[in-house]
Amino acid sequence: MLAFLVQRISQAFLVMFVISMIAFAIQDGLGDPLQELVGMSVSLEERDAIREDMGLNDPIYVQYARFAGNALQGDLGISYFYGKPTLQVIAEHLPATLELVIGASLIILVFSVPIGVYAAIRPQAFLSKFFMGISTVGISIPVFLTAIMLIQLFSIGVTIEMFPTDTGWGAWLNGALSTDGGLPSYGRGDELTHLFGTWNSGFFSSDGLWHLVLPCVSLASIMLPLFIRLIRAEMMEVLQSDYIRYARAKGLSSGRINFLHALKNTMLPVITVGGVQLGIMVAYTILTETVFQWPGMGLMFLEAITRSDIPLIVAYLMVVGLVFVITNTIVDLIYGLVNPTVKLTGKKA
């Protein structure tokens, strides 16, 4: 166990080291910090003096060591645009993204488990096939397109006038197919509750919650089909195993078998794979936040790219890299702890 622990943690450090090298290479390769600092009027000699002073003429490994040392102390430079330490800028944008991810995760949890279990227990039922069909379609729709369609349907509204209004059913169909819209599709709203530090929450006011609806549903839409399929596949595999057959032979009720015996063993791989997927959701927040102008980290990152705000880009890479490495390491460790069949030395079978 200890060997496994040490191996996984040292791997995490190695990955973080590589990420920091990449981040450093980007910082070093893109743009000249001197250009950002001094104007046109500064002479060449003065430029060279400042360059020497800032340590830009040092060997590359000395510069990297300085970068890594500063990063370890929580100093990732000053954002060109905001004029503040980059980590502070990220801390200000982090809560918005976290609330988006939390909201989407809740939606995924509430819908994926019952649907996945049902589709596994009754694979031939019409409803199961319907849900599996929907999830195939769901995977094929990019998250930003889902978001745009949701905006059209529930924020702008759709008016259908296709059917003749002089008949009763025509008017009814027109009404039934039209949507009112009106849901907010822009930002987080004005009524945010200050929790602590930089965390202003939208969870505690109806306005904040309404603003969360469309972005969270969009973000959940991309992961929900994956989770439904995963739960269904795992559950079907578990249902074929010997101990379930034994339980059936003993004459236990199917509800007890399905929910007490089978579901427990289904959730283990689901939780671990799910943990990794939640990390992957960070990538999709960039798309969701762009559509909804959600003031989170993803939108901040994209704006940093258009503004060539290199320190902020680098800081975002480091922070997101750290988030990924930590989630993956924790998921690996939990999996190793709860599943005794995992080879602890980490060798592939």
Partner: protein, 310 residues
Amino acid sequence: MMTATVSRWARVRDSFLWYSFKRDKVAIASFIVLLAMVLSAIFAPLLAPTNPYDLALIDIMNSELPPVGMSGADGAFPLGTDAQGRDMLSTILYGTRVSLMIGFGAVILQAVLGILFGLLAGYMGGRVDAVLMRIADVQLSFSTLMVAIIVGAVFKASFGSLMFGEIAIYMLIFIIGVAEWPQIARTVRASVLAEKKKEYVDAAKVMGFRTNRIMFRHILPNTLSPIFVIGTVQIANAIISEAALSFLGLGMPETQPSLGSLIKSGFDYIQSGSWWITLLPGLVLVVLVLVINLLGDWLRDVMNPRLYKG
């Protein structure tokens, strides 16, 4: 007298693949739709009413016309026009062409990388395997989209928007290909591990063939069916990735739009009621990706290869 082509056709006709294709209505329908889309994309210059790249043909007075069937529509523009007055039908045809080109290009690149690294890792084993698969694991744990966004962002920042726009097609093929190679490499490795235990590999070794020959001439052909299955799904993924990157402004410029950049440029006008500029290319994108995914599902069921279960 049987010529080579006749016997080849006979082999196709008698194969299990053709047999199951004939019986699967979803697969046939998907294939027909995909074929129609690919053909209309290839022949876009012939089919499209106007050339959307030709600025001289665009009249700003025609901007934001709705599709035929709505009030204010112009019969010359069956699917309406976008904000710059370009015919939507033409831009969608050309956009599908760009999206398909990038999708296929990226999958060819990732197949080359994935097959090479997968074969090496699976056949060599030991340290080569450990290093390559560790890289693949780490890259996958970051999600291919994240890797693609970051690489795209860095390229855009270092080349500048204008330069990036000119070589965007090659950039996107490179970015998506490099971001997604682990998917194919893992599949190839898994089937190489199964194949290399078989006797024909031992026989080839005993006959003194070089490692390269055994890897590429003996093992590779036997791992092709999982590569086909995963390659099909990867085309759909590459098209989605391209659309996502273009939507974020890290992909095709508006002057040479793909489906993704069409959606992006239309999104600015959705609030003013011009839904067709963004939703029509979106619909085409969804149908394209959906039929490829359905074909991939069908292929997987038929070939039933040992896919790597992550």
